[in-house]
Symmetry: C2
Subunit: 469 residues, 2 copies
């Protein structure tokens, strides 16, 4: 491959990220500070992520609905911690329809409040529970230090909101989404290893009694929170009057939960699998899995390339023909690498004369001539292997950069390059504050066996600490 | 069926509409004036509409992208007609992140301006054309007289935005989307007859040189605009500098087009097919096509119902089992009628003993016992017939309420109950103004053969006039 068009990761990781987002045509910055434009290639990846996540959410029994963008300011103030957490980030509409509004409305930063209001209307009896809702929407949180996909003033997400009869039901459902929808999606679609744990009190969602998180390691050793599920206790149910008549005829207060994943995951995908030549997109997610490239036209090359593309499509491979021979082949090949297309099949006159094509693999690396008649089967096998290879590579990278430590100083040191694991009994709330001074946070608490502790104080709980996005 | 729970259409059509939207659990009014909550049943219909429309848009070569919700106020003022048209409806954010903003930002009422800005960045040469973009998003237009789905301060839609090398290319693409995506979707999925025509100058989109519309007749004889495609000429290309280098090496200005359909179509669907018992959902759109209802449990009824449901699902029918026998059967049946589920299959102990079930058809009407073994095949046939029946009924209704007239007075008279067709040469701009005093508008201009005139002044053009939503 020719000289890279990207800043190398080792030289300047944030610059590499900016470069690859721009050169792979994933996104642009929007004209209003902190907003982004998701370009067609980036959006086609998001669409596939949405479809896969939506299938999992529906399989867990939740139904999609849509709630308004605008929320009365007074709703937010009903849950004290919630408004305190979100106030600094709110965008407020004060003028509409040619007039100043009597009550300003906020642009939703999240929808617990407005959905709480309607849960209270829709739930009457225990027969209406659980109420399992999900929404795909844009939300706004004004960002002082925006970074495309990772931290933007407007982002796209899904937010699930559920109401249950008991604390146990709410906790189980939040954990179920976390495992069966979120973790399953991240592993099997994004090819990303994730740590499932619980947030410390300091890191919880504003208004939650428990927050579960999925944390991934980026290639600069920093952590990225990929998704969260919150047990909201009865905080929002009390604030909005979400009650039900039990089978025994008693008025009871519901227990609610909420959970979300966003376009931020695209940033995580880029920073987990990308390399100095560009993106590497896991095959289940790739809009184009195999690009059939006409190197040079003539001698039946275009016809052979088209036939092969059709054969791949018929075999269920998302294949596309690139016959733009008015653009230099080298430039097209670099572009395909930048975009992380898993497989390129280069079709040229000399190869075709010998009944061959060249298979170039973005993930496994390397180029090799293969018989035209075997190309489709080889592509299918390569796509299967590539997904596992990406996952294994990311897992090995994370393991190599994760250290078990026993003191706060060691934790601070280790977090400069990766994750540190330290007993929560050693760290504690005070140690957490000390690390915060060095911009290091407790990403989550886990059990020694990798499962999620029942409480912050559970004996043996380990804190995973890191610098984070 | 028991006494209807809805206000009859003939008694009070707007009240019937409100009733059916509420009772079928389609939507609620949001807490901020003019906003709406789309409930899970309504949203499941919208999801299916999105999927079908999206497939057609992609088949026409457009790609999805996402542009920001917030637009700098200064963008809107760059196209004079555009800002004049939208100013009274804008919602403005003046305060964000705890501070007053230096430049207020508007919440997008439509995205021609911000997309124009990025088209100018992305288009360099004729090779980049046509640029065919589409976006699924929420938009905000402050409404003084809101009505759920039909006219809401926030609504969901798709907006296509395309840039072309020539006026002819732009016109042809706008017409192609109008016919191959929009009309095809409305006829084959919504089962709605639509009139394809061009808007008069008075009714055009703010900033367009030509607007094509699709107009449908509601069951109260009023018109509903279901979708529009606009030729924007070089108005936005000039305002935002959308230029390209031609094959001959000349700098040229692009020609742009835009086109949109929205959640308003759900209102159109309801008011086209609904009757005094509730909704009637065309089978291609119905989230549940066949509801298998356990009338009363016992004697293997539940097992038989479950087996039949599985058989229907295996045959590709969207079937659902209703075994909520703790709710009265009558109430469940009324609910299924309200929701417009095309087919109910009632399974009771006496029927099952005779190897039968009862087929109740929402669209064709009537109930009949059928052999259990034949039920699946009969359901499949019924679903096919139902779609055509709904379309035919709506077309016959529209034809019966459409009158050819030769004077403005006759047009005014006929528009009290339906559509009037009057030669544009007779009506003209002056006649259009007179009708406007009686709240009657020219919905569109058509040729005698039903095709779209090339210009407002084309000889023989007929104006279709009506009261409208």
């Amino acid at each position: 491959m020719a000289k890279s068009v990207l800043t190398p990761q080792a030289a300047d990781f944030p610059r590499w990220y900016q470069d690859v987002v721009a050169k792979a045509e994933m996104a642009d910055n929007g004209p209003v500070r902190g907003t982004m434009v998701i370009r067609p290639y980036g959006y086609s990846i998001w669409e596939r992520m949405q479809r896969e996540m939506d299938d999992r959410i529906k399989a867990a029994g939740a139904k999609n609905a849509y709630f308004p963008l605008f929320i009365p300011e007074s709703y937010l103030t009903r849950e004290a911690e919630h408004v305190e957490g979100f106030s600094p980030e709110l965008a407020v509409v004060t003028h509409a329809g040619g007039k100043d509004l009597e009550e300003p409305v906020v642009v939703r930063p999240t929808s617990e409040t407005v959905i709480g209001e309607f849960m209270a209307k829709w739930i009457n009896s225990y027969r209406d529970l659980p109420l399992l809702l999900n929404q795909w929407a844009n939300v706004v949180r004004w960002e002082l230090r925006p970074r495309v996909f990772l931290r933007t003033s407007e982002f796209l997400w899904q937010e699930g909101h559920t109401a249950h009869a008991t604390k146990k039901d709410a906790a189980e459902y939040a954990a179920r989404i976390h495992r069966d929808a979120y973790e399953d999606f991240m592993v099997n679609i994004l090819a990303m290893p994730v740590i499932r744990g619980r947030k410390t009190k300091a890191e919880r969602f504003a208004g939650a009694i428990n927050t579960l998180a999925l944390e991934a390691m980026m290639r600069d050793g920093k952590a990225l929170q990929m998704g969260t599920s919150h047990e909201l206790g009865q905080n929002f149910a009390n604030a909005f009057g979400i009650k039900y008549l039990s089978a025994e005829g008693q008025q009871e207060t519901c227990w609610t939960a909420s959970w979300g994943t966003s376009t931020r995951m695209i940033g995580g995908l880029i920073m987990t699998h990308g390399d100095d030549n560009g993106l590497r997109i896991p095959p289940p997610l790739a809009p184009i899995q195999a690009l059939v490239m006409v190197v040079k036209d003539g001698d039946g090359v275009s016809e052979a390339a088209r036939t092969l593309t059709d054969e791949l499509l018929a075999a269920g491979v998302r294949a596309e023909l690139d016959d733009r021979t008015d653009t230099a082949f080298g430039r097209r090949a670099v572009d395909a690498e930048l975009k992380g297309i898993p497989i390129r099949i280069e079709v040229g006159p000399r190869d075709i004369a010998e009944g061959k094509v060249t298979l170039a693999r973005r993930i496994a690396g390397g180029k090799e001539p293969v018989a035209l008649g075997e190309a489709t089967a080889l592509v299918q096998r390569a796509l299967d292997d590539d997904h596992q290879a990406l996952y294994d590579e990311a897992l090995a990278f994370r393991d190599a950069k994760t250290v078990d430590v026993t003191t706060i100083d060691e934790a601070r040191e280790a977090a400069q390059t990766g994750f540190a694991r330290i007993p929560w009994a050693t760290l504690g709330v005070e140690g957490e504050k000390k690390l915060a001074e060095a911009a290091i946070t407790v990403r989550c608490l886990v059990r020694p066996d990798g499962e999620i502790p029942e409480s912050d104080d559970e004996e043996g709980a380990i804190a995973v600490v890191a610098r984070a996005y």
